[in-house]
């Protein structure tokens, strides 16, 4: 009996201490804090720099991650489609180049030039912005409204591999809902992606 009690207690303690850390950050409905990060053109960019917008499509992405690469064109397309409707894309590279050299600021500049990024591609050099948002992977999207309220968190769509077989364009439908004055549904999705590489 004592043994059983001990096992139960040990099991409980084990779970109490080993339960994995849940990533913190914004949930839908939270107000995002503005930031000031360096763009690939060398200028500092904040959300408040954008005038007359209805919201922001904040995309944590990077150079090296194959999933981010699969979505690169779709991120460009999102900006082209929604910038004039008031929803520009703001891309942020959260990775430490100490861990992934391909994600250095110079490499970001190269990539933005080669692929002619039409949006700001910012460097979270101190790695303070992505934890605030609670971004955990690349790509990871946060759609905000004009008041910086987080309205959608998650994936761009449901098919990374083949853009022709997409069934749900999550970000597009979130932005379309907001343009109509509705709440996005779904407002939270999960997807496979690369972990954000944090400097220890």
């Amino acid at each position: 009996m004592k043994t059983l009690a001990f096992s139960v207690l040990a099991g409980f303690l084990f779970f109490a201490f080993s339960s994995a850390v849940t990533p913190n950050g914004y949930g839908v409905g939270d107000v995002a804090q503005d930031f000031s990060l360096k763009n690939v053109d060398g200028k500092m960019v904040s959300l408040s720099n954008y005038k007359d917008v209805k919201g922001y499509i904040v995309v944590f992405t990077c150079n090296h991650c194959p999933y981010a690469q699969l979505y690169e064109q779709r991120i460009i397309d999102l900006h082209r489609k929604y910038k004039d409707k008031g929803f520009p894309v703001i891309a942020i590279n959260p990775n430490s180049p100490d861990i992934v050299p391909e994600d250095s600021f110079a490499e970001m500049q190269n990539r933005a030039r080669q692929k002619r990024y039409p949006f700001a591609y910012l460097f979270d050099e101190k790695q303070t912005v992505f934890p605030q948002f609670g971004a955990t992977r690349t790509p990871h999207v946060f759609v905000l409204d004009a008041n910086l309220i987080v309205r959608y968190i998650g994936a761009i769509d449901d098919n990374p591999e083949s853009p022709n077989s997409i069934k749900n364009r999550y970000v597009e439908s979130a932005v379309e809902s907001m343009l109509r004055g509705d709440n996005p549904t779904p407002d939270f999705t999960r997807a496979v992606g690369c972990t954000i590489k944090k400097k220890p």
């Binding site: 084990f14 591999e161 997807a191 972990t195």
Partner: protein, 188 residues
């Protein structure tokens, strides 16, 4: 079920079915199975009974995943006789099996069981693995019966992985050693 099929033919059919179930992969490296739905992986885990199942989610394109694969191989070889099973769940695309996954498995000579999970509905299957997981890899799930723990991200060293898994393996021996301690305490 088919009593008139001779035994040897039945054996042959079973063997043939086994081969058909596997993509062309030589016997020298890991066994590769393709699951189109998470339910198949859940069934695989459930059939393990009282074994400790260590499920690592990885992909050939994921650098930190590849870095930690040797730790899982080591765990498998060290604890195979203690009812520990390692399953490496690849999230590579199905279209990359021949081109990328199989050459990788051959090159690395992985011995653990490898399952390619090609469930297209990521938004649904990811939280079924672990509610708080959002899909970033690497990630590792340890299951023993009804108990499960989850590790977000990479294990820095083999010892980290081992200490994460060991409480599950030591389950019965902890009880035994407590018994010893109690016995010792009574002066027996």
């Amino acid at each position: 079920m088919k009593p008139f099929v001779p035994y040897r033919l039945r054996l042959l059919l079973i063997l043939l079915a086994c081969f058909l179930a596997l993509p062309s992969l030589s016997a020298q490296s890991a066994k590769l199975t393709v699951f189109d739905s998470l339910s198949q992986l859940e069934a695989r885990i459930n059939q393990a009974g009282n074994a400790t199942i260590v499920v690592n989610f990885w992909a050939t394109w994921c650098k930190p995943c590849i870095e930690e694969l040797p730790s899982f191989e080591e765990l498998r070889s060290r604890y195979a006789n203690q009812n520990v099973q390692v399953i490496l769940v690849s999230l590579d695309f199905k279209s990359h099996i021949e081109k990328k996954l199989i050459p990788f498995l051959k090159l690395q000579k992985l011995q653990s069981e490898v399952i390619l999970l090609a469930d297209q509905d990521a938004n649904s299957w990811i939280p079924r693995v672990f509610e708080a997981w959002d899909g970033a890899i690497p990630a590792t799930l340890v299951v023993k019966g009804p108990k499960r723990v989850f590790n977000f991200g990479q294990f820095n060293a083999y010892s980290d992985l081992e200490s994460f898994v060991r409480p599950f393996i030591a389950d019965s021996s902890t009880t035994i050693s407590t018994q010893h301690m109690l016995d010792f305490g009574t002066g027996k």
